[in-house]
Symmetry: D2
């Protein structure tokens, strides 16, 4: 099932600036094989739902392995059966 | 990895009332084996992250199979390495 | 216009534990005169939309005045014209 | 207080396609005087917090006046005291 999603990863306990961790999360999403679009409040992705969910899990796993103690993610997922959902054609 | 999450499922194209689809999503989450807490803006769950992500995928799949044409979900996921995250002890 | 909302306030730069700031935000929402319901992923409120938005602004203002350097809030707002929205009767 | 925000407006009861209502919401945000950036999962804005909150209220009010029966919005708000928050420089 093809889906679109928005993924925002917020690290807690790394200080006021979260730039390094946000960039690392984006790098992992860009390496996931999903179509990726960056914006100021998250990363939009398009691809197989199972692949999207696996990428989300990987971001949490890798950031924790690299020392981030606490993470909260805000995610939106869109699916539809009348046509393939895409980042280009919302509506 | 144990996680907590909040899952809100919004069906589009079913009319102004979304009660039936929201209840069906909650039923699927309650059958998932995760710890579940209902509230007015979603369902909070606690359990293995992979199990939570599988439950989210199942909700989309089953609701589409049962005729809902379009779904958008809003999800928050929390993980931490200093202690087990739980719905009881936020902070 | 009566609305319901979910408000989650995330302080950045206060360390791994955000309990103190989350409790302060909840206290401010409880003092706002809105109907309030607490849960693990935020505070649900019900009342006039303008009053809800004013309460959100106050939470940001007061927490900053009290020393929190950075805040990100995740908010959901629900309004409808067919009947009064309420935290009790979603759907 | 300058803030950044992400605003996603979801109309319920208008059918599977929500394009017309989403475009109307974006038009209202673009007319608000705020700096605006569109993406597939919402509209990012930058400006005075009170102006942002007023724009959110106006979107709900106008869409209801124009016939949309039910609306749910997903909003993220960011503020900080160490420097001016901006859509350009997240982190």
């Amino acid at each position: 099932m093809i889906a679109t999603a928005e993924i925002q990863v917020i690290p807690l306990g790394v200080g006021v600036s979260v730039r390094r961790e946000v960039e690392r999360a984006r790098q992992l999403l860009m390496e996931s094989g999903l179509r990726v679009e960056l914006h100021a409040y998250g990363t939009n992705v398009e691809g197989e739902l199972t692949q999207i969910l696996a990428a989300i899990a990987k971001v949490h796993e890798v950031l924790h392995q690299e020392g981030v103690v606490r993470l909260t993610s805000a995610i939106k997922i869109g699916t539809r059966t009348d046509k393939a959902p895409s980042l280009a054609g919302k509506g």
